[in-house]
Assembly symmetry: C2
Homo-oligomer: 237 residues x 2
């Protein structure tokens, strides 16, 4: 938790964010399942990473690049989408065991779905579990999955102001990845302005600029994961 | 409604899509308010356009360009965001009266919010009402606002497969705008593949390629709006 820098940013599993329309009971039930998942991850020395962001921000592309670059880690992946198993197939082609959750009309993954998906994965040891959430900059921020690290993937094509327009998501982030920096020369995007908007809602998150397409910035991302694995960066209890 | 082309795509206000977790009562209550809005729009000869899409797809940019190009229409706008009145201010600067709805933790606009927002707009005649929904490719598809036309704004930076991964949204569309075509030379985006994915979930929608930034394709978009105003294109009852 980010409680030393003074930003006071609430995280999604904290009581303050529970007063939402979908109801206390739903979130309390989710939190119990998330606690169960978290205990499981701790018992197995597994870093679980909740990867969130808008559709098309490049979440799957980042995971593909990570799997290909991180040969020393045993990686498994849970993929969330409304429909299709396309992302599971992409991850499998990149070399990691993956299971797809199709949410139908659902707008996010919940802790129960992640728990059930873990049972569907082949039983084998892993160092890193990525949970790629449904592409949505709103709802996934509210549902704790038991993860140790929350990553928001965004891109300069989304414009500079998304952090202030979608504050719950950007507040929830431990790491914000600005993907697709290869497109910066072609976009009317002011990086300093984006940084200022992000700082207005979250001064604690680690910010990484990278391109999953070209590989630029990937080493810094791997270092963040390595430190999180070692407990050297902020990790949820 | 698109019931002559054989695609059978359900639209968001049809009973089949109501069996969702947030509950029958919520949607039935919303549908009553939507019917009230729809009757109001019909009585005033007003075309209401529900503009949906992922965060950063360029919804506001499209509305700015439309307002600046469509001098002959009196346009008003309801803006939906989790936080800030930035989009209202952009629309006002482009020359149209606008009111901002801040949804807080909410992931979509509902018919009640649109109704209340209309009462907050200055009382004046209008030809076109744009309702820019919260940036979200999932939840807004489920909530009828009483609109006459549903537009999904997407962009090639989101990749080719979003129609099949987020089928409720793309099925709900009367018009799909592929914005940011100025970026096509810089992206690994196969337009034919995107069209095939869209056709797999919706063969009825009018598809427009444009760039709100450069103005390319804007005349065709204005023609679609003009025809919808005249009742010449598919418009919800």
């Amino acid at each position: 938790m980010c409680d030393t820098c003074g930003c006071g940013a609430p995280h999604a599993h904290e009581p303050a964010t529970r007063a939402i329309a979908v109801g206390e009971r739903l979130l309390a039930d989710n939190d119990r399942a998330a606690a169960h998942n978290r205990a499981h991850f701790a018992a197995h020395g597994l870093l679980a990473v909740n990867v969130m962001g808008t559709p098309g921000a490049g979440k799957t592309a980042l995971l593909e690049a990570t799997i290909r670059a991180a040969g020393r880690w045993r990686v498994t992946v849970v993929e969330g989408d409304q429909a299709t198993a396309r992302d599971r197939d992409r991850i499998a082609a990149a070399g990691a065991p993956a299971v797809q959750v199709e949410t139908g009309l659902g707008c996010h993954l919940d802790a129960h779905q992640v728990h059930d998906a873990l049972h569907a994965l082949p039983a084998q040891a892993a160092d890193l579990l990525f949970v790629e959430n449904v592409g949505n900059l709103v709802c996934p921020a509210l549902f704790d999955l038991g993860e140790g690290l929350r990553v928001v993937v965004t891109s300069p094509t989304e414009g500079v102001d998304k952090p202030v327009k979608y504050p719950p998501m950007f507040r929830a982030a431990d790491v914000v990845v600005l993907n697709k920096v290869d497109l910066l020369p072609h976009l009317p995007f002011d990086l300093a302005e984006w940084r200022a908007h992000l700082a207005a809602v979250n001064r604690c998150a680690t910010v990484l600029l990278l391109s999953a397409l070209t590989g630029a910035g990937l080493p810094a991302w791997l270092t963040v994961l390595e430190r999180a694995r070692a407990g050297a960066v902020e990790v949820h209890p």
